[in-house]
């Protein structure tokens, strides 16, 4: 179980570029706000560079450098400027509060955004627990990675604020409550590649499963 920050192994996989896109997104969103983890990733990227240096080297074609120069000379593409738009907004095309949320039961709403990540098997869902709202007690099936996008929630183990990172598994039994005056919105990745519909849809919701 990981709470508040991603563990070293996840950050290692991130720095190596080996995570699925939804997992990379969760880490990236966390890094945006967490200088502690940014610094850990910096070190891990340095490790990647050192490892690359210690591998065998493969000689290159003789004319390769010239063709790179030719490509540089023909291209006028300027250095890319970092985008100001948040990754999340870019992905969803709207503010998280303005999405077509589906009310599920009581204080809980969900939105499945798996189709934003074509070609991968994990299920990705946004969940909203209304300010002050309670979700029924539940446990988790398989592993579930969650990042808090807005507001905060609390359970028996503590309070989870905006940009906190949580990995839960079937050992974790909790009963989250949205704390503070904002709706609590989270993004979760469900490892079990199940697709349920109809009355079982609500089983996908980590708040109420």
């Amino acid at each position: 179980m990981t709470r508040h920050h991603p563990d070293n192994l996840s950050l290692l996989e991130y720095s190596a570029g080996n995570l699925s896109e939804p997992h990379a997104l969760c880490i990236r969103l966390h890094l945006d706000k967490c200088s502690h983890c940014r610094s850990r990733v910096d070190s891990l990227e340095a490790l990647g560079a050192v490892i690359m240096d210690h591998q065998p080297k493969v000689s290159l074609s003789e004319d390769m450098f010239d063709s790179i120069l030719a490509k540089i000379d023909e291209g006028v593409e300027p250095a890319p400027q970092p985008s100001r738009e948040s990754v999340l907004h870019k992905l969803l095309g709207a503010d998280i509060n303005d999405l077509p949320w589906k009310r599920q039961l009581g204080d809980v709403s969900v939105l499945d955004i798996t189709d934003k990540f074509p070609g991968q098997s994990e299920q990705v869902v946004l969940q909203k627990l209304a300010a002050g709202g309670k979700a029924p007690a539940h446990t988790h099936r398989g592993e579930e990675t969650t990042i808090v996008l807005q507001g905060a929630f609390a359970d028996q183990k503590g309070v989870f604020n905006q940009w906190d990172f949580v990995v839960l598994n079937d050992q974790d039994d909790h009963k989250p409550v949205a704390v503070g005056c904002e709706d609590c919105i989270t993004l979760s990745i469900l490892s079990a590649p199940v697709k349920l519909t109809g009355r079982f849809t609500r089983l996908l919701n980590p708040f109420i499963r």
Partner: protein, 215 residues
Amino acid sequence: MMSVIRSNHVNVKERPVATLDKKQANSEGPKDPWSRLLEKVGKHQDREAFHALFEHFGPQIKYFAMANGLSSHAEELVQEVFVSIWRRSCLYDWRKAAASTWIFTIARNQRIDMLRKMQRTSAEMNVETEDLWQVPGDNEDEPVTSLHRLMSERRIRESLGQLSEEQTTVIAKVYMENKSHQRVADELNIPLGTVKSRVRLALNKLKVILQDQNA
């Protein structure tokens, strides 16, 4: 080329990390020769410096591409990486990363990008590779942060030899072959828990995650 690297190592040993104070780190400019060359490319579009970087890092990146299963596109990846290095070099800041680290992240991103393009279906994601994988830069120009980075890179380089062969193999597979811990476990026919503990032990030995970062 190799002599340059060795002399750099000697340098590091001669000057214990503890004596490298903030002022020095700031005033002496980039310490390693590759970072210095990359700065020249960024500031003056220096093609000689660019060629030296190509000679040193090109063969590494070609191996990286091949280890990632991109054998038939290995040189294409090297080309993409160097065009990208040239175009982005003006953004390079030695205080934020050593040239080797900066180039590694470009190679990694281009590899992700290439695999993504190869697997592209009709449906596309509306975020770019960089949006997901590029670590957001620190806005502050804190000398402590810069110094910290310089030190951690050196420490990793110096302590890599302390790893057991098993630990090196696991780490190399994760970084060079685009393999998750689970896939490494499957391939080496060992439990996932063993892979994870080897990685954890290796990171501890390398002091990648520095104690003082938590303070």
